[in-house]
Subunit: 331 residues, 3 copies
């Protein structure tokens, strides 16, 4: 018997619902959401209600580099959803790109946005359609495969929407959870930014505003390649672990256009589950190559006290900010 018997999958297509009703208050909600690298255990509810609204927001992609971003849930990367195979996601999203955040003037005009979940098996025409500012889309789907899946805005030019920050991860565990035990679980999302000082000279907090450099974007020549949205962010704030502990990293390479050669200095990946599925297991890897929207779960032991360096071993990318630490001196 096949664990993925597609004839027995719960596909149950229900049409997406488009309304003129607007979410108020928080830009993201749901017990299954994880806002940072530190992952909570999976929430027990068999149906996960998830709200992720789109916003336009100034984000700091490197110290002093304030970039005109577009978001899911008002952060980049967007919140990670964690669930299990067989569970259902009940999703809603208001396009709130027309709301100015407090104290910040809009830098990008309100525009259409949408949601494409790689974890779903649904018609893109229906569920992933673009919605106008002020509109809300709702749809649901069942999780059929374990994995670490990308979500992102699918509105043309998709390349620009991803490069502006509209992405996040859905972690889907096997029905019975993972076959191994670990001490720590962290999420690392790699992505590229293509930033230039605003040609119109707009400022933010007295410094230059950075906007999307479309020429670099089309040529796949990023200015920043980062983990979890911030140039060397986890160098400044290392992920904690203790000597002898087993750490499980969930790594998603968003791109939008480059590969990642993900490596941790000082240890070896004991197990690697390509695309985050334990059925796709490799052992003893130094480095895992991930295309745009590929992912992997990697488990490793922290051999002794010290700081272990996560890096895209394409070192031109690392030099752009794709560096982070797992450290026994961090709390």
């Amino acid at each position: 018997t096949d664990a993925y018997d597609t004839s027995k999958m719960d596909l149950k297509p229900i049409a997406a619902k488009l309304t003129q009703e607007r979410h108020k208050g928080a830009f993201a909600s749901g017990d299954s959401l994880n806002l940072t690298a530190l992952l909570k255990p999976v929430d027990p509810a068999p149906v996960k209600t998830v709200q992720l609204d789109t916003t336009h927001k100034i984000i700091e992609i490197a110290p002093g580099v304030k970039f005109s971003g577009w978001t899911f849930g008002d952060q980049v990367p967007g919140p990670a959803i964690r669930a299990r195979v067989g569970e259902r996601i009940r999703f809603s999203m208001t396009n709130r790109s027309d709301e100015a955040a407090p104290g910040i003037s809009l830098t990008a005009a309100p525009m259409m946005h949408s949601m494409d979940f790689h974890a779903a098996m649904v018609s893109p025409q229906d569920k992933y359609r673009s919605v106008a500012p002020g509109q809300t889309i709702e749809f649901e789907f069942t999780l059929n495969y374990p994995g670490v899946f990308m979500y992102h805005c699918g509105t043309p030019m998709i390349l620009e929407h991803i490069a502006s920050g509209m992405y996040g991860a859905v972690i889907v565990e096997p029905r019975g959870g993972y076959p191994t035990k670990v001490d720590r679980e962290y999420l690392v999302v790699q992505s590229e930014f293509y930033a230039k000082p605003d040609p119109e000279g707009r400022k933010v907090d007295g410094g230059p505003l950075y906007v999307l450099d479309n020429e670099r974007l089309r040529a796949a020549q990023p200015t920043h390649t980062v983990f979890n949205g911030s140039h060397n962010g986890m160098v400044r704030n290392p992920l904690p672990a203790k000597a002898g502990e087993r750490v499980r990293l969930f790594v998603l390479n968003v791109g939008p256009s480059k590969t990642s050669s993900f490596h941790v200095v000082g240890t070896i990946f004991d197990r690697v589950w390509l695309e985050g599925n334990p059925d796709n297991q490799m052992r003893g890897m130094q480095t895992v190559l991930l295309g745009s929207s590929n992912s992997a779960i990697m488990e490793m032991v922290i051999p002794e006290n010290g700081s272990y360096i996560m890096v895209d071993h394409h070192f031109a990318n690392a030099s752009q900010g794709a560096i982070g630490l797992i450290s026994t001196e961090s709390k």
Copy 2:
């Protein structure tokens, strides 16, 4: 017992034969050939006689972009050969780069060409040697491994010959066929073009003639990245499928220089056979990373009515034309 016991393989090297005799008429022939994305079942003959002649031809790589191409079988990509492990390919090729197609003046001088089959185990010096315009080369080989293999011209500068259109696929099924059943089978060949308007200002059909941009080619900065030879070609002409059907995609990334992050929006790859060999199986993948001359077979279910978007999720590539549709509204 090893399914690939190399000591029992039929390698039987027979020297290639070079003649001054010229094929006339059709540029391609053979019951095992497939000219489009739609794949026929494998032909039952244990020896496949295949003729693929080389031509120089204006090809339309995007609407209005007429490019000075070099071909196998007078089309880009060249016809796909389909066969099974243990069968034999009896191949012949006339270099017809000196024949002007009707109504078209030659844009590239006649030149040497050759054939390199990744599916073969033979001496390149002998079988893959370059032949002059008007000459015919013949050789044969047994198929020892299942897979989706690239073929291409191997005449220096190889980079230019591939970038000009000289490539195609050989599909080799396992001896007993594939272990799963599907409703549809399609071939998708991804490749890059490096085109610039002819510096000499030559025209075709009243519009500009495009020629190879050698500077972009050497820098690996394509102008077009396409499926099956045409920018967004399968957006204009989607591949048909019905809701609930299982589709098997045979995907070959030709390059010549880039990777593909192949993805289908709206579904998940149930099985992925890396290099097209069921022994190399992955499950539940969102995206498959393919280097230049890598391939995979991907099977997936079409969950409901709609249009499912094939894309290189390196989105700078997708924006250059690497987009296609599988649609329940297509026939």
Copy 3:
């Protein structure tokens, strides 16, 4: 029982030792070292004593292209270490970047260097720290996983240290050796160079001195992509093999920034062990995609007399020198 039970691994952290004592004489020593593509069988000593000193040296990366390199063991790539799982490496390195080689004036000022072994599980802060010219660092570690692992200098800017030549391979066999038998074993290390004529106009042997082109380096636009340190080096000096023989290639892609689509013209990889670990086996591959610091062991049969062409099938890379031969006419 898990072959890689991390709770039973010999991690035994012993602090690295830093001394002001300097190695004299040979820049590399150890019975486990392999200086060329031709690999010796593994040395039987359970503890491998390895000395690899760093030097600054003019290296010829292509005929007539004399480049200001930095090395391990006075060669690029550095010597390959060969050992088995469970064995221990006792390593020492003197930073001898302040010693001028005979007849050659220094082209790069002495500087800090360090050693990062991907084969090790140790604290980078301790073992991989940077040492000043004249200092010696010593540390040891046990080999816990089979594989083909990269080593490299880890001193910032790491990108520049790798691009200047500071890398090599550690081959770790399974405890009982490999599960297959072969006739030949060769090591192929792919790497990129980013070279420009010295802006200060310095000469070497009457010709131009080439130095690191930092602009190309940061943009990941190499000038040379080579196997074993030399543009088309193994075209001039092919690796020998006989018809019918089984050849095992150990391939490491150093980068520092590009992927390799490794292929051999005229045969098919019977077995591919990703990262050099037989547990990660693929069959019947035409091409193996390797990220920066990825590796693979590939076994293949030489079907008949001839010259078989190793190539990075990203052909823009091959055109930069990533070509070599395995030939039945070579000795």
